[in-house]
Symmetry: D2
Subunit: 106 residues, 4 copies
């Protein structure tokens, strides 16, 4: 996300004095709620989805994730790289190539 976009999200919260509602737990609920509005785009038909709607719901998930990063003072690249390092170890290429199995069943 560009610094301008991040700043826009922060200002939106600040201008409305909404930081008081943004406990980590409330943000976790919100990410799940928006993730399920995204999932609803694919509820009965997984092929013919409304792309405009998908974009809006995915954006909502991303905004609440940004709120949580801000709230907890986290760096997105740091936590993602740290997790990718774990994933790369849990799913060695030779064992997991072309297979959707969970790491404990490889």
């Amino acid at each position: 996300m560009n610094p301008e976009t991040i700043e826009r999200i922060r200002r939106f919260t600040e201008d409305r004095n909404w930081d008081q509602f943004h406990s980590p737990a409330n943000l976790a609920k919100s990410i799940s709620i928006e993730a399920n509005e995204l999932l609803e785009c694919f509820q009965w038909d997984e092929e013919n989805y409304d792309l405009k709607h998908v974009k809006e719901e995915l954006a909502d998930v991303l905004v609440y994730c940004r709120n949580m990063l801000d709230k907890l003072g986290l760096d997105e690249d740091e936590i993602v790289n740290s997790k990718m390092e774990q994933n790369e170890k849990k799913y060695p290429i030779e064992k997991s190539k072309g297979k959707a199995d969970k790491y404990d069943q490889l």
Copy 2:
């Protein structure tokens, strides 16, 4: 997210030939599943959470969101700014300041 981090996520998928599993619907399910692993960190106690675990689960949500952006060829800043524009209109500062009400109840 830095270009290097984005590239690392893409390479992870490519190296394992996992793009075949990444239908938009499967990714939507995955975002919800990871969002709920994040929510689980706050299931019974919203104050004393395990920050290390929170970081890992939030990273998982972000990685699947990135996978979906890639799959659908979307630009993160574009969809987020477009949604923020809607949010700014739906929640005028004077009406929503300090209130957690939904826009249709303002």
Copy 3:
């Protein structure tokens, strides 16, 4: 659910003194968390699921729903019949037959 099964669920909570954790909000989180463990059974492959696992996760959802009914003093048949009445009106047979559209798009 048989009265014996309901009683078993209640005793399980009582014996562990877990009612203190069962706020309606915590139970709502728990229902969502278990619903997503159920969803995980269908994450990458919707046809070849592990039925034993599906049964366990569906049971977890049902147990937390029962906890919530108990916590709020609700009668399952009453709330379900009341909602079915709404559904029957929102989805008239002639309009919705064979279509998965949402009621506001019929």
Copy 4:
């Protein structure tokens, strides 16, 4: 659930010819989606919830659970009792009394 309520749910699906949409995977998505509409009742304020709304969303979760039981030919009491047996073993009273810890941390 009373046999009459179960029958009403079945008839609702049959009358609309909706069984075709009720794959186990679609029902799992639906349970998660409705669970999150329930969770939304507690998104920003966990104490002052709209009980009428809570009842409706909990009913929706229960209806989709019933659809899944029917679809897979499962007996609710059987799967719940089988899971309760596991839970009783995983959470021995003396170890888990008054504690919300997960079984693997007891």
